[in-house]
């Protein structure tokens, strides 16, 4: 089974809209859970969108575009992974096998998009020198073309042309490979957690991580309970510390 040109177009537009919704209004639609779920709705497999989206989100925990740095494009990864994963014969393992390499490869296009937009600010320089306010407006408002197209075009081509080769490839893969892929998917959140921990003062505050671990591992507390407990502990700590400093 494969997708038609119409589906390819719809998912390409989704990629375009989601990157813009993140860039401008900071709506975070590029988050894998959001874009994966929407893709799942479009291709008719919401659960696939949930799972691919959640796995990629967990991988990306400590990743952030600090100062405009390029990070793996999990948004495009989530769209392709969910769409291919929903095809019969591909499944979750196959979807992940597409999503992760796609997210990594897309970093090249991210750099291309960010570089190409430089042309737009040079256009604006000239418009400003002429005092042409309307032209400045155009240069800015069309500045998203390189951003959107570097996501939308690969999604369009991959969905339109890629479904058959991907399905064939996954079907040809031995079962042992797919089993290993499933284990990889379960293991990848470790990268997100570890990356996050490197950015936190673990040496100073490690007992708090132990509290969280004990709550779940020994006391079987549900996750919302842990989050509430975390808020209470954080609040108490700063207040008690404030009192101690005054005393």
């Amino acid at each position: 089974m494969s997708y038609g040109i119409g589906m390819a177009l719809v998912l390409a537009i989704l990629a375009y809209v989601c990157i813009l919704a993140n860039l401008g209004p900071s709506l975070m639609w590029h988050e894998s859970i959001i874009v994966g779920t929407i893709t799942g709705l479009i291709v008719g497999d919401v659960q696939m969108g949930f799972t691919i989206g959640a796995t990629l989100t967990l991988m990306s925990l400590g990743m952030w575009t600090y100062g405009g740095a390029t990070i793996p494009d999990f948004m495009t990864g989530a769209i392709l992974g969910t769409a291919f994963g929903a095809l019969p014969g591909v499944g979750l393992e196959g979807g992940l096998a597409v999503a992760v390499p796609a997210a990594l490869l897309m970093t090249q296009l991210d750099v291309l998009g960010r570089a190409t937009t430089t042309l737009f600010i040079h256009g604006a320089d000239k418009a400003v020198a002429r005092g042409d306010v309307k032209a400045v407006t155009r240069w800015h408002l069309w500045g998203h073309l390189p951003w959107g197209l570097t996501r939308a075009v690969p999604v369009f081509l991959a969905i339109w042309l890629g479904a058959e080769p991907v399905t064939k490839f996954i079907e040809w893969m031995p079962d042992a490979f797919m089993k290993a892929m499933r284990l990889t998917g379960a293991m990848l959140p470790a990268l997100g957690f570890a990356l996050l921990l490197t950015m936190m003062p673990v040496k100073k505050y490690w007992p708090f991580a132990v509290i969280g671990y004990v709550l779940f591992a020994y006391l079987k507390m549900p996750m919302v309970g842990i989050a509430l407990m975390a808020a209470a502990v954080g609040f108490l700590y700063i207040n008690v510390k404030g009192v101690a400093n005054r005393g």
Partner: protein, 283 residues
């Protein structure tokens, strides 16, 4: 002095800045700031287009307008959601009082600190907590994860507006506000909250990592030697529950922190590890 210059005609937009102008500028900034983000001057063009309604009000002549627009086409980059709206609001206040140059130094002085504060609050403190919560709902097949993420994004968008108006009211006083200690306290409390959550979520999210190793042990029952199969996982659980998830995260952390490996390399190592453990039938 009262004689009007014939060559320089007064621009039609010239006049006092209205609340509508400020609101327009805020919407432009909050919706489009990074649409023309580029390597050379990053958010500069978005900033210029956003502040244009104010510049047009305050520039009497075409020459003044060109000069004020050029001032804003210089390098600018900070956190677009937490930080930039405050700076932009203060900068609008400066332009309104035709103190544009002072506004420019404010931009330069604050974009660095605000990038640091904004990125810390969003990327290290709040996003991980929300994302892990949302991911665990999504993994259990619930829509709640999707809606949590959606609400989180809407929150970032919404809070830019009060940020803008606060920055506008603060004006130059903003520099002193930022130097205060309130943000440090907030950061520390949120860091602690983050660590408790991570501590609980590592075992919860990665609970699928269990070993399938079994031992055949010969035991003597009533004088008869029989084979008994012993599974390794329950024994590990007795020792330390969720030991494998902790070890894998510890391994990734060690690679990143002590071995100074890039995230891409760690991804590769984890994939190799998963394939090896799977092929060797350990997991």
């Amino acid at each position: 002095m009262a004689s009007p210059q014939k060559t320089e005609k007064v621009l039609p937009e010239y006049g006092p800045v209205t609340k509508a102008d400020l609101s327009k500028a805020a919407w432009r900034h909050n919706v489009t700031l990074q649409w023309s983000w580029n390597y050379e001057r990053m958010q500069a063009l978005g900033y210029l287009w956003s502040i244009m309604p104010i510049l047009q009000r305050r520039a009497k002549t075409q020459e003044e307008l060109v000069a004020s627009m050029q001032r804003h086409l210089v390098f600018y980059n900070t956190n677009p959601a937490v930080g930039s709206p405050v700076i932009f609001g203060a900068s609008c206040a400066m332009e309104e009082q035709t103190q544009g140059e002072m506004g420019d130094s404010l931009k330069v002085a604050l974009m660095g600190p605000f990038a640091g504060i904004g990125d810390t609050i969003m990327a290290i403190l709040l996003r991980p907590i929300i994302a892990v919560l949302a991911a665990s709902f999504a993994l259990s097949g619930s829509w709640a994860g999707f809606f949590i993420m959606l609400a989180f994004g809407l929150f970032w968008f919404w809070q830019k507006f009060p940020e803008f108006w606060w920055g506008y009211k603060q004006g130059v006083g903003l520099v002193h506000q930022v130097a205060g200690g309130a943000l440090d306290k907030l950061t520390e409390g949120a860091t602690i909250m983050g660590l408790v959550v991570v501590g609980g979520f590592v075992p919860s999210i990665m609970s699928r990592l269990v070993t399938t190793v079994k031992f055949a042990q010969s035991v003597t029952v009533d004088g008869k030697a029989t084979e008994k199969v012993v599974e390794l996982q329950p024994a590990l659980d007795q020792l330390l529950p969720y030991m494998i998830p902790l070890l894998v995260v510890g391994f990734a952390y060690w690679l990143l922190k002590s071995r100074k490996q890039s995230p891409m390399m760690v991804l590769l190592y984890l994939t190799i590890l998963a394939f090896a453990l799977s092929f060797l039938k350990i997991m």
